[in-house]
Amino acid sequence: MAGRNACIVGGGMCKWGVREASYVDMVQEAAKECLDDIPGVKPKHIDGLLFASAFVGRRSVQINTAPVVAERLGLKPTSICARVDVLCASGSTAILLARGLVESGMSDVVMVVGSEKIYTPERWQVQYDEIAAIDHDWDSPQGIGPPPIWFALTAKEHMKHYGTKKEQFGTVSIINYDYGFTNPKGHFQRQLTIDDVLNAAEIAAPLGLYDCCPLTDGSAAVIIASEEKARELSDRPPVYILGGAQVSLHSVTANWPGEHLGDWPHLRLAAEKAYQRTGIGPEDVDVAQVHDCFSISELIELEELGFCKKGEGGPFVESGQTKIGGSIPANTDGGLMSCGHPFGATGIRQAIEIMRQLQGRATNQVKDAAVGLTHNLSGANAEHTIVIYSREPRK
């Protein structure tokens, strides 16, 4: 395909966790980290802004957010200035859109920044914001705005159909916390033992506290630019955004598209489309960031993305395949489990980690990583979003 290539030039995030800062304070911190990462880029070079946030309209009582963010960041966008909301995939979606804007020639240099302020002013309200995050009229009244119930049902079904064990869910959390231990920007810097995981407070059996990612305040920002601009603005090797896919087959849980809850055909379809469009196969991916909102979700994602056989996610993770040196190191910065999950910022954090891996400057570096993948699910597992990155442009 002729035309322009879009690259991720640099990125940064603020400290994630329970923050004494507003969403727009954190946006400024993340944007500063991002521009400090690429000394050649100043606000005047940026012609587009995409702001990714799901809850800002409810938690921070601000809709039409992009102009607010642009003003605070000293940006004067002339190509695009908009907010993107696809819940947990807001950040990845904004990156895919920025790629399209850059490749089309509409934009040259776009900042994609995500932010969520969850812990304010009273914690109970988060649960009442989550009733707006899934199909409000049909699923929320059944008590599943907060997602553990849905993923506990999913875990039970996976255990029933494939013999997956609770200890294998726990392995996901242990590995991701181990990675996150060396990430000072994440929510947690601690390590877990299998006893910690198995003896943790029960949230919704079979899921305990450490099978669930935390609620987190945070922001992350990246710069997406044309290859030409990327080379002009930075000396680092370009990381190309090859492409991706976003698939949505249903919204209300009753219309679940799989044979059972452990069967995710919408993710298989997203993977098929993303691989087809980029000429990359699962065997080519050196490092992945998969949506570990729950331990069970990472297990199933590894299967449906083609990194292991269907049903074998449990033994696959147990045998260390997602660790450095394994066949697909995953969530190498700590993932959602250890970094936390400020919805709109998560896909951007994932992109930053893949960029660092592909530029050879990650903390938990995968040797010679050349191709990376990010994945998010959104809602009550109703939508899947994949982005594929490479050191080489599309052939």
Binding site: Q127, D135, G143, I144, P146, A152, K156, A201
Partner: protein, 165 residues
């Protein structure tokens, strides 16, 4: 004079923190679903043109985009495929545990599965394979402005409950 700036403090209703749907016919074109629920019937729409059954009910058919739809009955009994009891992090107003089941409405049903809360059910008692049935209950009404007049809109919703053995 001080402005409170917080309508809750003035006793005003705000739907942004309302768990339940706005069901009134003045707001919602599928209010028939709730009217039927009030009579103990579990219904949805079917396309008269192509026969496709749609859940949740709609005003157009997503298959052929016809707007000629009719109401049909859904089964009110099903079997539990998997059940979960949530002990922590439940929305305020819910009692712990919140029990939810993924329910099989049966091979002949136009809607095969549904996720529902299971109420009238002692904790740790519901098992895979158990039979459950539809149960309808009142939920809080809300004020609603219709051409400068405020009415009180009554509401119902549904869950499932164990079928007594």
């Amino acid at each position: 004079m001080a402005v409170s700036g917080i309508p809750f403090l003035e006793g005003r209703y705000s739907p942004t923190l309302d768990l339940w749907p706005i069901e009134a016919k003045e707001f919602n074109r599928i209010h028939t679903f709730y009217d039927s629920l009030r009579e103990g019937r579990f219904t949805t729409t079917r396309c008269k043109q192509c026969g496709r059954v749609l859940y949740p009910p709609r005003v157009i058919c997503p298959e052929c985009y016809s707007d000629e739809l009719e109401w049909i009955e859904l089964p009110k009994r099903g079997k539990v495929i998997a059940v979960v009891e949530k002990l922590g992090g439940v929305p305020i107003c819910f009692e712990v545990p919140v029990i939810d089941a993924w329910i099989d409405l049966g091979e002949g049903s136009p809607l095969r599965h549904i996720l529902s809360r299971v109420i009238n059910c002692p904790p740790q008692s519901l098992k895979e394979g158990d039979e459950v049935q539809l149960v309808v209950f009142d939920v809080p009404s809300h004020p609603m402005e219709i051409r400068r007049e405020t009415i009180i809109a009554e509401r119902v919703f549904f869950a499932f409950e164990p079928v007594k053995k």
